[in-house]
Symmetry: C3
Amino acid sequence: MFKASLRDPKLLKHSIDAISNMVDEVGINVTAEGMTMRAMDPAHVALVDFELKRSAFDEYEVGEAIVLGIDLDRLNTILKRAGKEDKINLEVDPEKNTLKIRLENASTRTFNLPLIEVSEEELKVPDLDFPSTVEIKSDIISEGIKDAEIVSDHVILEVDKENFYIKAKGDLGNVEVKASKEGAISFDVTQDTRSMYSLEYLKDMIKASDIADTVKISLGDNIPVKMEFLSSDVKLSFLLAPRIESE
Amino acid sequence: MFKASLRDPKLLKHSIDAISNMVDEVGINVTAEGMTMRAMDPAHVALVDFELKRSAFDEYEVGEAIVLGIDLDRLNTILKRAGKEDKINLEVDPEKNTLKIRLENASTRTFNLPLIEVSEEELKVPDLDFPSTVEIKSDIISEGIKDAEIVSDHVILEVDKENFYIKAKGDLGNVEVKASKEGAISFDVTQDTRSMYSLEYLKDMIKASDIADTVKISLGDNIPVKMEFLSSDVKLSFLLAPRIESE
Amino acid sequence: MFKASLRDPKLLKHSIDAISNMVDEVGINVTAEGMTMRAMDPAHVALVDFELKRSAFDEYEVGEAIVLGIDLDRLNTILKRAGKEDKINLEVDPEKNTLKIRLENASTRTFNLPLIEVSEEELKVPDLDFPSTVEIKSDIISEGIKDAEIVSDHVILEVDKENFYIKAKGDLGNVEVKASKEGAISFDVTQDTRSMYSLEYLKDMIKASDIADTVKISLGDNIPVKMEFLSSDVKLSFLLAPRIESE
């Protein structure tokens, strides 16, 4: 049994929009604490960790913890139909084996999303030791990634004692975005670090900047980057493997 | 002789936008009461009935009643150039056999639309007996049709004693939009009815929701649906033949 | 040495957007008076004359006058990334032979545009004697050109003692945009004139209407038209060769 009513539609809408290009099918865990999902893209380059907390919901009833097998593309198509003022209700229909998504406003619009089989093995999040963590406004990363896209398809994330950098280089010239320690929400850097990442993944990930004002970025040398979009009700965190910098 | 000046450009603009995908060429009747047009799409699936009343015009002069042969695609292309604040003037040039469409604002922009030959036989609107008629906000039908499009290319319109429904079913899951009797402007249902229609036509028809706040929907079992977008100055009504529901 | 900081990003942004489709590579002259550029399109149909005055800049330092060889497409791609509130800083890096474009806001975003070799021969602006000059609101020309595009790919610019006209004729009908002497900012017509021009060029040129409220149009019979978008800080002027009117 699962029945829930979401206060702010954009939390689910923009999170699924950020994830659905990377991951096709996923098991969403529903427990008394909220909804969580952890998934890897097919190429094993990115790991997504998503939590929509119970506090995000106006109503929330769940019996035993369950796993909902979801086709994220289909879910994304449905959630794109939700208006800003629509209340989103979720309910599992165990007989039809569907997730009912009900958008309530002047009318009641119900979408029945068929649940699918998914493997239930738990993905482990690798235990990484990040020498540096900075928290900045999420639109800095979002605009910076779009800047980098005009010259390249990969990007270097770098940090030193004073600044966090997004750097890209291509035939068109090079781009450097600099966010200073002074402008950061938090800035905890123990050593200079630098790694290269694929923009293909990053440009999906930055769609999550709509759900949180700030992003926490954890970095090291040639190790994955962790980007956490955090607000009181939702946590969307990505771990992205580095590329080898050939130059 | 025909010369007229339209107060609100959007009435003509959005009506022609809703009609022009369905009907290529049409005869618009111009009489002392206003402009009317009745047309059928080439596949004989949809019938359009349009009236722009004399009251919609600031100035309106017509001699003998005339029929203007219009290529609706061309007219639509011209009307899309009209801004919200532009005053639309219409005038027949009998010598050049054109309809002069003059948009007045800071400049005067005149488009000369060549008139074409059209058959003048009057289309009869079939006399249908609808067991149910509901009037609802036009954005409910407009959003509901867009919802249905994500799963199917046809849709079921249904009504019972309590609700009006838009239903669609496809591989992606199914969609049900429900508008309750309580939320309706009027709700006159003598029996439960259900018919299936093509979304291809409906998605053009709902463009008319910009000209009227409400839509009157008349329904029966496996008979055409009538959708009337009504305001004090304009009446745009569609009759759409049902599809055979195979399931 | 060149270092400057631009107050209003849109002056440079929209000017380059208007020019970059016509001209690929250009030498921008930087002197104590400001930045100027003069260029011809490869087909020698249009000549562009651009000046961004020193007064447009908050800071402006230049040593000897220099010429910056610029790939306008690349510069345009970079300037499109500038937000309305971004401060644009320009600086030549003589070692790397690049123009550094720095967008300052919450973060500092630096784009390094490689400078290219360009011929430094000065283009002469032909000395034309225009019998008529009118100055009108720039959105009249901008909307009028878009009106003409729906019927043709060339346009006639015409002026008589009372009005300035944009005329186009095609299979779809014809279009005439009329701006009266009364509505003009200035209207200096010594004789009726008429010439035909290519819309392909005009539709790029009208992008400049975002930098100036008015445009000064100088005309004659079958001679080039001059369009000057003028504001206190910027001057963007186009000279466009006529087409032969076959009719």
